[in-house]
């Protein structure tokens, strides 16, 4: 009883036309159909935040959307953050310098949550930074270094 749909999406500036089953999650579409494995999948029920991507400028859980719903939409994944594969975005630079990651599993989701947040609020307080990443679980860092990395970025950006 498969129900297939043809969709057009723009991901990291590139247009894709694909045929997807209605039940395919956006996270699986991004990872398995497009091979963009930077988007991680931890829980598939909205709790961990690893799968966060940017949909039309806002961060959302890609495990809580169907790929068919991305028809006609603009999506950015962690691969689309920097100018090329060999460059890092300044926020990624700050994460590297301030040890904002250890295993890196949570990092793409955290970056995808922070990019729209920092665009809207370029000078956040520590409390605001913590609220912005409250929906992203990290099992390694204890969050201290993640917050420090964001502060470093904000300092350099101003």
């Amino acid at each position: 009883m498969s129900d297939n749909h043809s969709i057009n999406t723009t991901i990291n500036g590139e247009d894709y036309t694909s045929d997807v089953e209605a039940r395919m999650l956006l996270s699986d579409f991004i990872r398995h159909e497009l091979g963009l494995t930077g988007t991680h999948v931890g829980c598939e029920h909205g709790v961990c935040g690893a799968c966060t991507v940017i949909l039309n400028g806002r961060s959302v859980r890609s495990c809580l959307m169907f790929a068919v719903q991305a028809h006609g939409q603009q999506i950015t994944t962690v691969e689309g953050m920097s100018a090329s594969e060999n460059d890092l975005h300044p926020l990624q630079e700050s994460f590297r310098e301030a040890h904002g990651l250890q295993c890196g599993f949570c990092t793409p989701g955290i970056l995808m949550s922070l990019i729209p947040f920092l665009e809207e609020n370029p000078r956040p307080s520590e409390e605001e930074i913590r609220a912005a990443i409250s929906g992203n679980l990290c099992r390694c860092t204890g969050y201290q270094h993640i917050v420090a990395a964001v502060k470093l970025y904000v300092e350099r950006d101003s």
Binding site: D3, L25, E44, G49, L64, M65, G135
Partner: protein, 292 residues
Amino acid sequence: MKPASFKYYAPESLEEALRLKAQYGDEARILAGGQSLIPAMNFRIMQPAVLLDLNLLAELSYISTKDGKVLQLGAMTRLNEVEGDVVIADRVSLLHEALPYIAHPQIRNRGTVGGNIAHADPAAELPVVALAMDSRFRVQSTNGSHWINSEDFFRGYFETAIDSSEILVEIEMPFLEPCTGWAFLEVSRRPGDYAMAGIAAVITLDSNHICRKARLVYLNLSDAPLDAKQSADLLVGEMQSNELIMEVAIKASEEEIMPMGSLHATVNYQRHLARILTKRALKLAFGRAKQT
């Protein structure tokens, strides 16, 4: 896990959505923000045969006001839009205060007002706020639309008065009256988690600071939002005092709420939380009522 197969429709008008709902009835689930439905489908707790995705219906996404005293929300209005609205912050402050407690920013970017209400989770914030604010809900089918008062709307765990042929289309919430104080408070294990207990309080005073009207609605302390009428009635005709607040807090937490307990909070602990939250909320609401 992955969702089971289903037939997907993304109607481009409300009319078309209503026609499909009439055709499929119980077999068809409405897909709003998907932030509760899709997790349930990923776990295969739910396996709807048909999904009607309302995300293309711009006509159901709006924040407007009527006669300068009633807030109107389209069912598909995203939670983050409500959070950022200045009129709501100013005139329906209880709603504004409750919003950041709902999940996380990424989930509020997608989740909708209608979805949060129609889902009718006893631990959800909006049903509690809607009841405390005497809201009403407009549901529509191919036969037309009608209003349901919040008192008649919530029927128990995940159950509402919405019929299988109907779609929730609009929520109306009156602005806070003059001389009215409010408070929304809850306790959860981590920010964004569903709360173990919570309260919405709304209190209206007269010019002598005597309480004219009071509403206390509890979150996750019954199988639906719990309107503690007897406890609230103790406030009417009285002035603020510590003894009065204590009496109300004890009555509500010992007699009126019906906590179920869970892995994270025993029934006794929930009663304890309800007592503390009632005291804090009443102090805050009285204080705010005196300032307005």
